[in-house]
Amino acid sequence: MCGIFGVMDKRRQMMDGSGIREALSMMNERGSGEGAGYVAYGIYPDYRDCYALHVFFDKACESKAVVDATLEQWGTIECDEAIPTCDQPNLKANCTPWRYFFRPDASLAPGSASPEKDVVTNLVMQINAGANGAEIVSSGKNVGVFKASGWPEDVADYYRIEDYEGYIWLAHNRYATSNPDLWERPDPFNLHDWSVVENGKTTTYGANRRYVESFGYNCSTGTDSEVIAYLIDLLTRKHGLEIDLAIRALAPSYWDEIDRMPEAEQKLNRALRFAYGSATMNGPFTVVAANPDMMIGFTDRGKLRPMVVGECGDRLYIASEETAIRAMEPCVESITRPAAGEPVIGRVAP
């Protein structure tokens, strides 16, 4: 179930959302028409130094006051406005998408190595945990999540994503199994830098959630991608793991493989499994994630869900199906299918 798609331009050349819309809709057989979403990096150059908060209000008149007040406590709102939308006959809007450009007050997280992100993290957890009719769906600099219940085309047209230009795009075509009406439920999930789309359903949601929540994160939606976004943030930002090691912690090698590794590597991999046993994801999944500097893709170690990688010039593609890549890049130069557990890491040129 679910189709996922990601594209990155290594030289930060911009792509508008129309191609992504096209690619995602090629995988409509993998969805149920009850959820789709897009996230793009580089879309808010005018506010590049502000954290862009995309928020869904159940009732704008009530919830907005709560969010405004909370944001004022944690920093300064530079600007806020309704996210431009265009009504679609097939979409039933049940919330109001809003965006804030926000400067966190770093002095509220003294002693932190990344105080602004700590403030934004706390803010997101606080608002999303509260019964306040507001849900922050993305919170990074120069990045925004656009998602709703519906087919990919309708969601794209609703948000007019062809009007946005980004150098990394992730997208998700949802096959709903629960809460088809909730707009915050489809992927992508985002926490400041990191955005995640997943095709899968882990068998370790509860264990992973308990682990990540013991570090102060709060999982409010019950979806894998939310936990995965928090896990990646925890492992890379708080625990200082390089991304390749973070992926290995989440999807480790089998013990038999570890036993056959050279000694230093064996020690490292054993240490990762020792330290991060509770963060390890099990069950079927393909995850594509991005931050402003990279796009990554990885699967469960049995590769129970598909992952296809395409390359063409400066573009790197990761998708559930080759057809999605070809929809956007008909003359793609290379198509590969990484082996189970073999991650893909694409970095933007510095």
Partner: protein, 505 residues
Amino acid sequence: MSSNFGSMPLRYRISIDREQCMECGRCVENCPYGVFRWDGNRILINSRNCTACHRCVTYCPRDAIMLQEQPCDYRSHPVWTRSVRESIYNQARTGKIILAGMGSVSNLPIIFDHLMLDACQVTTPPTDPLREPVELRTYLGKKPSKLEFRQKPNGDVELSTELTPNLMLETPIMLGHMSYGALSLNAHVAMARAAKETGTYMGTGEGGLHPGLYPYQDRMIVQVASGRFGVNIDYLERGAAIELKLGQGAKPGIGGHLPGEKVSADVSRTRMIPQGSDAISPAPHHDIYGIEDLPQLVNSVKEATEYKKPIFAKIAAVNNNAENVAAVARSGVDAIAIDGFRGGTGAAPRVFRDHVGIPIEVAIATADKELRKQGLRNEVSLIACGSIRESTDVIKAIALGADAVYIATAALAAMGCRVCGNCYQGLCSWGIATQRPDLVARLDPDVASKQVANLIHAWTLEITELMGAAGINSIESLRGNRDRLRGYMLDEGLLEILDVKSVGA
């Protein structure tokens, strides 16, 4: 001293079908309790001595022997039950504390039986353990919570975190602590061989390590209990790990008790106590009067063994279990075994065994939750023990937060034990809980070790299948994964404490 109780109603009645009986006398030879005796060429029965050990039933070649429990009715009464009345008669006659063997006989609901396991259907595929790996390998010991790296001169990054020693188990099932003394040497050797064969470990109990176990010492967890029986540096150095026994589920708050009848010459040498003397270990460790004393003991044992071995602590599950576990987790130990109130024993006062403590299911769940809350979960591994009866108990205990389990009564049963509960008499007809040489000789270590290994192997296979069905291919993904459990007919308060949802949720 006399009493007016006279003959108490029989507990068991043994009868022989005389048509079937061929007077071979095997029952006479096999029963150590004196139920059968020859009278000329006829076998007479004294049912009063029977313990329901089933030895005679097992060895009768004609199936001529039948055992009936409670053949004589009392007037039924919901409050003044048979056991209540019999305890009163017993104590009115003797004026003593009633001792009992094996685990609790309280007829309380068993939480494990009200927890249902999960399986994958359409949204997630099951894993097929016949065709795909399912990892049960378990490491017990302290784990880092975070890893540190350093940059080498050539720019490469290498791990600088040093891992502390862990025990590597091929399956999360260990053989629990039962002492040599309580058990026979043959029983110990059989279990040690089974541990070696199945890639797991076995606890020595607080009875020292007999030289006959030295060949298996790398599979032994040597126990240091409050009596310090059998403890010296040689003992500590031989073990693969060292366990400090602070409490026991069958008798929280009191020490061990080995009746003098079982202290043979060999047991005396191994325990370093006089032959024939009762071995009664103190209730507390007399060097631990507060939690701050525990780290000193942990450190002195670590110093003595040069930090090469994991140190375990075993505690009984009582009301403030979460607090106890968090306190012990800070003492420097590498694993904590929690023993539930249904835990077994060779001998314990009946009132403790049946009334003190809390269930292991609750104890593990609250321990795991509290350790996570306090950021201590990686400091220690958790071992669940006390009435782990079958493979599903193992998997449920792990899903509630344990890393591994100890089994003990189940291992005895695998060697033939019928759970008759008379271990303290020292006359075990199966050669398990006795030191009488002729009885000990009945237990062939080769045969018994194979049976114990078979049990562990069978449970391991079942766990593998259950994990595969749940779409989980490594044991650490099961640990604390309470979302894969559902409570059936458990009350709301208990579900909240277990952090398990109700069926249907």
